[in-house]
């Protein structure tokens, strides 16, 4: 029968296609890496620098990704505006940095610089958290029971509002962070010379992630959050204040994102009203990569994505003689995302949300 023939052809086509995809990907990765490494064009130092910057960038993605993954876990909703919460932290840090610099404190001594960074992060968190709660209150809470597309559109709206609010408040220009000399000093670690800033970023990120993990696993509120993520109705029946759990989740995500905003801007020394958009998208990619709803997954996904972005272009593509391989770093990242979703839809560590059938 004609219909059956089309079906069979489609099925065969899909199977062949997926196999070809696997083969091509493996070829590109293996052959590309081999070619690049064999050409000996890049020294060990270059590679280690790339790995370090991958680690740094990955830590930031991980921090932001945690916010996405937790909100998704508890509300099944993509918090599109999370990138803008990140931006608020970046801006807050900027103004504090400028202020501290104008009184000479910022660069007064290494200790003063460190203290300044701490203050910047603290203020950033103090701004990002209420902002996130405000967004939740206005754009998400009324829509708790709506089908999933509705809060998504509302989140997109909130994202626009925040972006253009920043633009209105602070102007369209790009602001440069005042330079902090101490952060650029090199530390000898394990035979390599690594910037203080990189160490700081990674260390802060790890500290915050550990703190978050302990919170979610060991405290009463953390358990409540996990319960609500599993089954909202039953958790409510058990006497858990679902609303408070949700609000706390948003707050936790905002804390991570606000801090990440400061760290990111210290790394890239710039902030403007659209700063958060692309890192936001990448971080969400990382969360999905690791398994959405899965906290260790978000951390892993973030670090993994950072490495792929950093090393990927040079490692895989340079060997093939691809011009300007760094232009394509996002292509590698997104291709990896698509592959993970095609072949392992629940992410690397598996999602924590069960999908029932029939």
């Amino acid at each position: 029968m004609q219909v059956g023939a089309i079906e069979r052809v489609t099925e065969v086509a899909i199977a062949v296609f997926l196999w070809a995809l696997r083969v091509v990907v493996i070829l590109v990765v293996v052959v590309g890496s081999a070619l690049t490494l064999m050409s000996g064009r890049y020294s060990l130092e270059t590679w280690s620098n790339l790995v370090v910057s991958g680690l740094t960038l990955g830590s930031i993605y991980a921090l932001i990704a945690l916010g996405y993954t937790m909100v998704y876990g508890i509300l099944r909703m993509i918090n599109f505006a999370h990138g803008e919460i990140f931006t608020s932290g970046a801006f807050a840090g900027y103004f504090i940095a400028v202020g501290l610099n104008s009184v000479g404190f910022l660069n007064a001594s290494p200790l003063a610089s460190l203290l300044s960074v701490v203050i910047m992060i603290a203020v950033a968190i103090a701004i990002s958290t209420p902002l996130a709660l405000l967004v939740e209150r206005i754009a998400y809470r009324p829509l708790r029971n709506a089908p999933r597309l509705v809060p998504l559109i509302s989140a997109i709206g909130a994202s626009y509002v925040l972006q253009y609010t920043y633009r209105g408040l602070f102007g369209p220009g790009i602001y440069s962070y005042p330079s902090v000399a101490w952060l650029n000093e090199l530390l000898p670690i394990g035979g390599l010379r690594i910037r203080v800033l990189d160490v700081l970023v990674v260390a802060s990120a790890i500290a915050m992630m550990v703190g978050l993990y302990l919170f979610v696993m060991r405290t009463k509120m953390g358990t409540a959050i996990r319960a609500v993520s599993e089954d909202k109705e039953t958790a409510a029946l058990m006497g858990i204040d679902v609303n408070r759990a949700i609000v706390t989740t948003f707050a936790l995500g905002a804390v991570m994102a606000g801090a990440a905003g400061v760290l990111y801007s210290l790394l890239y020394t710039q902030v403007y009203y659209l700063t958060g958009f692309i890192p936001g998208i990448k971080a969400f990619t990382a969360a999905v990569l690791g398994g959405i709803g899965n906290i260790p997954g978000a951390m892993l996904g973030g670090l993994f994505l950072g490495q792929v972005e950093s090393i990927g272009p040079t490692l895989f593509l340079d060997g093939f003689g691809v011009p300007s391989p760094n232009q394509l770093k996002d292509v590698i990242a997104f291709t990896m995302l698509v592959l993970v979703l095609v072949f392992r839809p629940s992410g690397i560590l598996g999602e924590r949300i069960a999908k029932a059938r029939a």
Binding site: Q2, V3, R357, A358
Partner: protein, 281 residues
């Protein structure tokens, strides 16, 4: 040759064995019930037949063709269809649209023809509409085709679900608790209706039911499951008097259930073509 044969069918969920090495046969044109306590694996077994689950062991074949690893739409193509324990209609489509979806596999005109509204398309759609209206009439929903499925009363929704399944022109129909939530008179109507399905259309019926009056009144054979295994199998009278079944499911003497079982057993054995109804006490 039996219409449906299941051999050593096993289905596991993690550590739980929901269906354990089950053997089962179903003869063409019969009405058979599967009963058992909650959690006995009845719906799981249905889902294995219908392609919702893949079996972890054993095989199922329909008319000689193995079906245990086919997709649900392939199963539907083989003329096996089902209804659901919790009604699963397309809530926001009208009743007649629900039935029309059931005819999907019989509508072959390509989408380009639909855009051009060729004569072939018009004829096919008209024929489909006629058949859909006829099915609605058959299940007792004539004239209600334009009502949204979600807005129909409960009993009508169950009947609409059957109509949708009938639209696929099945040879085997799996009914999952078709009388759940109905009052006694509705149950009688549904029982008679199920018998008519077999008598008028020659459809083989496999039934999951908890309501013993319905089960005893309509089934030619009954299979009893317990903990995923077959506990007993036989005619209604044999099942009613089977010690193990009584202990596991029907209830011991002195309780009201036994008298219910006896009463149900007092009804005549269902004969093909007779419009016997079971009188409730």
């Amino acid at each position: 040759m039996p219409l449906l044969t299941a051999q050593q069918v096993t289905k596991r969920f993690g550590g739980l064995v929901a269906v354990n090495s089950l053997d089962f046969t179903l003869e063409q044109g019969s009405i058979v019930s599967v009963i058992g306590p909650n959690g006995a694996g009845k719906t799981t077994f249905f889902n294995c037949i219908a392609g919702f689950y893949k079996t972890d062991g054993g095989s199922i074949s329909f008319d000689g063709t193995p079906i245990n690893n086919l997709r649900p739409d392939q199963i539907a193509a083989l003329k096996i269809n089902r209804t659901y324990q919790n009604i699963r209609l397309f809530q926001n489509m009208s009743a007649i649209e629900n039935v029309l979806v059931g005819q999907h596999r019989h509508l072959h005109t390509p989408w380009i023809a639909s855009v051009l509204n060729t004569r072939g398309v018009r004829e096919e759609e008209a024929a489909a509409l006629d058949e859909a209206r006829e099915l609605l009439r058959y299940v007792g929903l004539q004239g209600r085709g334009d009502i949204l499925a979600g807005k129909l009363p409960y009993g009508d929704q169950r009947r609409l679900e059957v109509a949708r399944a009938l639209a696929t022109r099945p040879r085997l129909l799996l009914l999952d608790e078709p009388t759940a939530g109905m009052n006694p008179s509705e149950k009688q109507q549904m029982t008679a209706f199920i018998r008519r399905l077999r008598d008028d259309k020659g459809i083989t019926i496999l039934l999951i039911e908890h309501e013993m009056r319905v089960v005893m009144g309509i089934s030619e054979r009954i299979t009893v499951l317990n903990y995923g295994e077959k506990l007993a199998e036989g005619t209604p009278r044999e099942i009613q008097t089977d010690e193990r079944v009584i202990e596991a499911y029907l209830g011991r003497s002195g309780s009201g259930d036994e008298s219910a079982a006896q009463r149900a057993g007092g009804a005549a054995e269902p004969t093909a073509g007779a419009a016997t109804t079971v009188t409730g006490a």
